[in-house]
Amino acid sequence: MWATSAATLAYSSAKLRRDFDERVPPLMGVLGAFLFAAQMINFTIPGTGSSGHLAGGILLTILLGPHAAFLSIASVLVVQALFFADGGLLALGCNIFNMAFVPAFMVFPLFRRLAGNAPGRLRLNVAILAAALVALQLGAFAVVLETTCSGIATLPFASFLLMMQPIHLAIGVVEGLVTVAVLGLAQKARPDLLRGSLEGRFDLGGKRVLLAFLVAALLVGGGLSRYASVLPDGLEWAVGKLTGKTELEASSGVHAALGAVQNKTALLSGYQLPAPARKEPGPASEKATAAGSGTGVAGVVGAVLTLAVACFCPYLFRGRRRTKPEI
């Protein structure tokens, strides 16, 4: 995933440099910052009483065109990963793929086809809505696929898929509605903003490039990410996305659904805590477990000790630092 995202980064950068529209870089940067600000403002999702915010992948893609939008969203993800640890550094490759590559390069052509050249208001809105829906479905599917490939979680593929897709259907509808509302207003005030993406100023470089990227993505996703995303955060963002994309807070219907799914899986597998082996503590069995637990105990003791040392470390060095000037 890292490789795909990196390759797309390089490709988009090269492409933008080639047909360098000097108006674009500041626009990309400032719009990225806009996305940041917009994500901090929450709104009420009608019907559920929970709150959500804009994810904005599709919005930026429609405004900026695929290449610039890809870079812009990727940069937002980088900053979020570093400063807020949203998703973590290691999942960044996957994240960029799901939230930047998918809307910019896989969904945008669909949007173009749906919207046509000079769409009426209704057609444009329908196209935006559809694009948002498809983008989130594909993104959610990619999450499930990547998670399963990485093998870090033992959650079965099918039940995870069943959990993710309906949730993201709901999120996609909300995201689509918000995008329609924002773009509708923007278009009323500045009709020229949307013209660029509708009149085909952005040449996607043909289907071949897209196909090549897809193949590369599959190859890399199957091979490399097996290693690259055996990581804690590989799932952090899966769940982070679940809760974070259109941030659903407690008591929403979605959470209830999630809980139901969780209960179901638990029931199916007959969840219970592993019963401790209740043998009579005879000398023989003690000896047998002692061999097995010897390494375990050593590990636990050592771990606790090193942790203590690590916790003490900052103050140790700090202490020295402070006394130094006095000497």
Binding site: R23, L27, A37, L71, G88, D233, T289, A298, G302
Partner: protein
Amino acid sequence: MTSIEGALLDFKRLDRLAAGDTALHRLDPRAKVIVTFVFIVTVVSFGRYELSALVPFFLFPAILVGLGNLPAGYLARKVALLCPFALVIGLFNPLFDRAVALQLGPLAISAGWISCASIVVRAALTVGAAFVLLALTGFPAICSALERLGLPGMFVVQLHFLYRYIFVLGEEGGQASRALELRSFGAKRPSLATYGSLVGHLLLRTWLRAERVHRAMLARGFSGAFPTRTVGRFGMAEAAFVAGWTAFFLFLRLNNGAQLLGSLLTGHFS
């Protein structure tokens, strides 16, 4: 909804830590980026049931925090805030993976719990290392380091732009939402329609601002890249920093440090 201003303040605080002036702050950013990268790769390369071998890796962020004179409590709190997320991910593991892996007296710990704990520890390690890197280096310096290590220039320009305007637009968004809050008589959050036009207006203003920024930059001779005074030099100190930590990580990867220490102690007592 104090969250916007709060988040921005937190953001700025983390950012300001990079203005410190210790030996670690003065190291070339590239060295720190490389070491952090090696650290993360090493931590991630452990098997999913590994727990005790991961613990010694806490020494790396801890020592850097100490030497770099960073606020340990603040960073620890930031990392701790993220642990629930990691926990949620790992929570499924004890459900599906119930082979007994460790026997501590009458308590049997299943492999699922171990891998769950392993996920949390790894998340804490990688996130902690990233925060430490950020606090020691600062975002712009990290970007320049990445550029010199081969990240496309266009993307680096984009990162710089984004970083400069996050604060500006964050404040603008915060103002807009506070204004809305003051006028909405205790309603907690705006409806979809209000939100749409709020963000829409923010977008329009952003766009206008971008055009103004662009003209101002052109007037000052912007040519597509930020000219920077390159001060960093990859010298002996940087090489030693990279080599030392890499060797340390390799040692810990090949030997279970916690196990060694633990068996030394328990061996002594028995």
